[in-house]
């Protein structure tokens, strides 16, 4: 990445070299099927058990509450569909929010098409779900509440402990999509009364294609993927041993340096935010203030400019950023998250997300602060919306 400024760590991280090394033996040497009983597969089984323990340790769970999946999306799908399917006799109401990742949102919509009622809660202008709203939405037929731990676009951290407490009080299972939070902010599933939690390795310097779902002991959940008896009968398929080992190594590595990394990254992030707000007129800052957002997330809207334009202009300058969720970059709909916090269509289309990480330096941030104002200025000059905007504020004077 020489000369390149990667600012899309929320979309995916590189796999840390230590993690790659940890995975290496499981491709060509200790490659046995962990379900086999011969001694050759013992190393494999031990490695998987160790990874499971590492995951459990980081979130305060016990090892037999951790199930490996193919990523955050599968974990989210499993949590929502699995709990709903298994508890249909108890009720058909699910509560979630308008700012969830598509993995939760579209799983919830699938449930809606299959006889479930889903409440999609609003959020406040900084992207916070209000616990009172959750409390109010709970009914006797509610069988699941799913509220993300931290939002992937605007970084707002949710009042998860409060929501967890009130769900526990009502005896309703509580799931949180913690894909952006795990190993980046402290999580304790017991203290926070979390019943199910999703994570994905490639968001914390692990490999793509592997994740995990924490399911508290006693929570009833139908399988999403049926077949062999792997993962204690809960998730079938020959174990992705290298991937699971990678997830374990990555969660250990990343959470072990969480405190110092967060501080360093948040400081750079704040330089970035300050610089953008000072040097670009009429920039809008999206999401919650520093203390209540992910340490690595900065999100802005620049009235008059469409996001893709910014990405491509930044790309020419060696800067890789995102507009809204990475997944929806191919789509033309403005981000549902930015709409949910009350942005206009123009603002939502003109958003820029920059997410920092391990290799981000102050030089990187300075580079962005040098090129971005120029880019914004130039593109605004060719925008009819900017022209209208200038007229409107002149008229307002």
């Amino acid at each position: 990445m020489s000369g390149q400024v990667y600012l899309d760590y929320a979309a995916t991280t590189f796999t840390a070299p230590e993690v790659v090394s940890a995975m290496a033996p499981y491709f060509t040497q200790s490659f046995g099927n962990p379900s086999s009983i011969y001694s050759f597969s013992e190393e494999n089984r031990r490695a998987i058990a160790e990874s499971r323990q590492k995951v459990a340790d980081v979130i305060g769970a016990s090892r037999d509450e951790i199930y490996f999946t193919s990523g955050g999306t599968e974990a989210d799908n499993w949590a929502l569909k699995g709990v709903a399917w298994r508890n249909r006799a108890k009720g058909n109401h699910v509560i979630t929010t308008k700012i969830e990742h598509h993995a939760v949102l579209y799983a919830a919509k699938f449930l809606q098409e299959n006889g479930f009622e889903v409440t999609f809660l609003d959020v406040d202008p900084e992207g916070r779900v209000r616990p009172e709203d959750v409390a109010r939405a709970l009914t006797d037929r509610t069988i699941l509440v799913s509220v993300m731990f931290a939002n992937n676009e605007i970084g707002t951290i949710q009042p998860v402990a409060k929501i967890g407490a009130l769900c526990r009080e009502r005896g309703v299972p509580f799931h949180t999509d913690a894909v952006q939070a795990v190993a980046h902010v402290p999580i304790d599933v017991k203290a926070m009364n979390i019943d199910l939690l999703s994570m994905s390795a490639h968001k914390f310097y692990g490999p793509k294609g592997v994740g995990a779902l924490y399911v508290r002991k006693g929570i009833r959940i139908e399988n999403l993927i049926h077949g062999g008896g792997q993962e204690r009968g809960r998730r079938a398929t020959t174990e992705n041993v290298a991937g699971i080992v990678g997830l374990g190594a990555a969660i250990e590595l990343t959470s072990s340096r969480m405190k110092e990394s967060s501080a360093r990254i948040a400081a750079l992030r704040d330089i970035l935010i300050d610089g953008v707000m000072k040097n670009i007129p009429y920039a809008k800052f999206n999401g919650a203030p520093s203390g209540e957002r992910l340490p690595n997330n900065a999100n802005f809207s620049f009235i008059g400019i469409e996001g893709e334009t910014l990405l491509l202009d930044l790309d020419r300058e060696g800067v890789y950023a995102s507009t809204g969720s990475a997944c929806s970059s191919g789509s033309l709909d403005p981000s549902h998250v930015l709409m949910a916090i009350g942005l206009t269509h123009e603002q939502a289309h003109g958003s820029l997300r920059m997410t920092l990480g391990e290799e981000t330096t102050e030089e990187h941030v300075r580079h962005v602060l040098e090129v971005l104002p120029r880019i914004v200025k130039r593109r605004r000059e060719m925008s009819p919306l900017w022209e209208d905007f200038l007229k409107s504020i002149e008229g307002g004077r």
Binding site: G304, I305, E306, G307, E308, T309, L312, R316, G330, L332, P334, T344, H345, E346, H349, E381, M382, S383, P384, L385, W386, E387
Partner: protein
Amino acid sequence: MYSEKVLDHFQNPRNVGEIENPDGVGQAGNPKCGDIMKIYLRVEDDIITDIKFKTFGCASAIASSSMATELVKGRSIDEAWDLTNSAVAEALDGLPPIKMHCSVLAEEAIHAAINDYRKRKGLPVIEGKEYDHDHGHATEVD
């Protein structure tokens, strides 16, 4: 994702800007879809002697505006009217299916500007054209 031509016209758009006291102005698109295109015409003896645009939108919207203005500059307004979105897209060496609507927008904006010019001249506006703003959902299988 984008052809060289699209990137060139996106990075160095031709005919950007406004025309003071234009002979025709047209606009297409809406902020909901994330694209607004505004076209200014200078017309002399039915020939488009100058054309400028301002566009809010993605790279292909800007490139489509740029290319469309290039294609109609120096043409008669009747020739300009016949410029199709596929001609714009072709001139750009193609657009991704999901972005084809940007070329439609360019056609539409030019039509709007021409009709504005016609209105100012007392000519009847040309109507009835339906623009296909399907946002390339054709890329979705099934």
